[in-house]
């Protein structure tokens, strides 16, 4: 046991002990596979592990059980798209949190916390009310095409406003940043309230869904919206990883080290907005994933973004698949909005981080 206590003592005295990158990613992949497997089997209609391979069509079961058709229906039209959406949204939310924290050089930044998600949700809700009443377009079209774009635009606008308020001559005040975020979230929420007030019954149902956050609306067409955004942003993350590392030194130092700071800021802001916006357009406002995941990972693998960003995507996916599974089983046959669940876990976590920064408690 001496090795373990040595390691503990070293870590406490400020030495970094980090597992190899490949091991980290492998463990996270295994965790994601495990979470997905659990999510496939449990739910309102339970599918035991023994019936899973046949239902997935992995091998043709000669003794076709009478439940096979039902299992296949549940899996392919409800559960698999839902798990896919949960994984992708978790990845988007966690990575956008990590990027925002890197850009603002503070572990407390989170798109949902500072109103970027609310801005996106407000724009999406406005899109529902305006286009529905003006054009009378079918909501089906709306949800898959227009809503992500509207939510992205809303998130982008919010992020730009936030950045220009909080930054002044290369310095970012985190206090102003968080307070401005609260104010912006309040404005966006007031806007959503106004929309709720003027919406008719059918629109109201759709808007309420954003306020609480739920993955029950996940369908294959929505996966088709999420997947390309996730792929593009994942590739873009590679190009900004070094810049996000160096900007921890400050904007002037990052420039001295050869980083094109203005370009880095533009790319990061667009990425955070796109990732948050598209996630909000599918499942509404789900908070705290972006703050919990990168923070936990930094404790274990360190803050270098080349590994932190992909690892955040994987752990975010694990976390949201798990949370969604819990959300749809904990009060079965009813369903708990996932936003409530992540807030119930994430908010105390955030408070603990705050207290730790004040040096009152050590976790």
């Amino acid at each position: 046991m001496t090795a373990v206590t040595d390691a503990g003592a070293k870590r406490r005295s400020g030495y970094a002990l980090r597992p190899p990158a490949s091991l980290t990613l492998l463990c996270l992949l295994a965790a994601l596979a495990g979470a997905a497997l659990v999510a496939l089997t449990v739910g309102a209609a339970g599918i035991p592990l023994t019936r899973l391979p046949a239902a997935l069509g992995l091998w043709a079961d000669a003794s076709a059980s009478p439940t096979l058709a039902r299992d296949q229906l549940v899996l392919w039209s409800i559960r698999i798209p839902r798990i896919g959406a949960a994984a992708m949204i978790g990845a988007l939310l966690a990575a956008s949190g990590a990027i925002m924290q890197g850009l603002f050089r503070n572990p407390l930044a989170d798109p949902a916390l500072v109103g970027v998600s609310s801005g996106g949700a407000f724009a999406a809700a406005a899109a529902i009310v305006i286009t529905d009443s003006q054009i009378g377009q079918s909501l089906h079209f709306l949800q898959n095409q227009l809503l992500p774009i509207a939510a992205f635009a809303g998130s982008l606008l919010t992020t730009i406003i936030l950045y220009s308020i909080a930054s002044r001559s290369g310095r970012t005040s985190i206090a102003i940043f968080l307070l401005a975020g609260i104010a912006i979230a309040a404005i966006a929420n007031a806007g959503i309230g106004l929309l709720v007030f003027i919406a008719d019954d059918r629109q109201l149902r759709d808007i309420t869904f954003w306020l609480l956050g739920s993955l029950s609306g996940a369908t294959w067409p929505k996966l088709a919206t999420l997947a390309p955004v996730l792929a593009c942003t994942a590739i873009a993350c590679v190009s900004i990883a070094r810049g996000l590392d160096v900007i921890v030194l400050g904007e002037a130092e990052a420039f001295h080290s050869g980083v094109d700071v203005e370009r880095l800021k533009r790319i990061s802001i667009v990425l955070v907005s796109a990732m948050t916006g598209v996630a909000v357009s599918v499942c509404g406002v789900v908070g705290f994933v972006g703050i919990v995941v990168p923070h936990l990972l930094r404790l274990v693998i360190g803050p270098a973004h080349r590994l932190l960003l992909p690892a955040s995507m994987l752990l975010g996916a694990v976390l949201l698949v798990g949370a969604d599974t819990l959300a749809r089983t904990i009060v079965a046959p009813a369903e708990m909005p996932i936003g409530i669940l992540t807030a119930a876990v994430g908010a105390p976590f955030f408070l603990a981080m705050l207290l730790r920064q004040r040096g009152l408690v050590s976790l």
Partner: protein, 266 residues
């Protein structure tokens, strides 16, 4: 011989105040220049303009005969490295990771060799795996100096002698590491680098600099060798302190401030 860095009548005005007023400065490769002056004389502002970070409101700065604002950031970083006064790192990067940031996109093996060498040079090799925020202020300053040395070495490997700018690099160092740092900078100058350092300690400046640039209220008061720049008369006029200048046995000048009233007087 054309200068490696040339500032042509640069001024910096912010609001109504003139922080730097019409300064000309030429620095050759292989020269070590100390910028000294009282608080608020414009030393840091001048240095930040020379780094290309601040754009002068008037005048022009040329690095290797090319407008410094014409360089894209990555190329500029290969020609000049700068150590700022206060760098506050919030995330738990290790010392080694921070120093690696100086290496830019150099190959892994080269980068590691330069990082190890720089860490040994600033006497931090034993702390390479420590998280930077857990180190003392002086140790952090040395880690950042190592990072800047790596950046300089990477750039010079590609483009020949570069520019090294140091903004009060010794401010939180103990006496031994102050001398170590300035000696490392001096040694870079002897290898061809143009070094410009803002220094508060006039004795360090006189001991190591080839040339001393004395700023006063944004203007260039004196630019010359240590004998002409630092005299009891200029120190009294600009710093408003009486000093005695003496010489060591080797003929190196040193400066002893005289108190306004006798020591121990009420």
């Amino acid at each position: 011989m054309s200068a490696l860095l040339e500032a042509q009548s640069v001024s910096m005005m912010v609001g109504g105040a003139t922080l730097v007023d019409n300064i000309d400065l030429r620095v050759q490769a292989g020269e070590m220049v100390a910028i000294v002056g009282p608080n608020g004389a414009g030393k840091s502002t001048l240095l930040r303009m020379l780094s290309g970070d601040l754009r002068p409101t008037k005048g022009r700065i040329e690095l290797k005969q090319r407008d410094i604002h014409g360089y894209p950031p990555r190329l500029l970083a290969q020609h000049r490295a700068m150590l700022s006064q206060h760098v506050n790192v919030t995330f738990p990067f290790t010392v080694e990771e921070i120093v690696h940031m100086g290496a830019g996109d150099s190959g892994r093996a080269t980068a590691q060799r330069l990082v190890d060498a720089a860490l040994a040079e600033v006497d931090l090799a034993h702390f390479s795996q420590r998280q930077l925020p857990t180190l003392s202020g002086g140790e952090q300053q040395r880690a950042h100096f190592a990072r800047v040395l790596v950046q300089l070495a990477c750039g010079e490997a590609q483009h020949g002698p570069g520019l090294l700018l140091l903004d009060e690099p010794t401010s939180s160092l103990d006496m031994r590491h102050q001398i170590d740092l300035v000696e490392i900078a001096k040694q870079r100058a002897q290898n061809g680098t143009a070094v410009i350092a803002v220094l508060h300690d006039l004795n360090l400046a006189m001991r190591f600099a080839d040339r001393i640039v004395l700023l006063h209220r944004g203007r260039l008061a004196v630019d010359g060798g240590r004998a002409e720049a630092i005299t009891a008369e200029t120190i009294r006029r600009i710093f408003e302190v009486d000093v005695r200048i003496d010489y060591t046995d080797q003929g190196v000048p040193f400066l002893l401030p005289q108190t306004m009233r006798p020591v121990g007087a009420p």
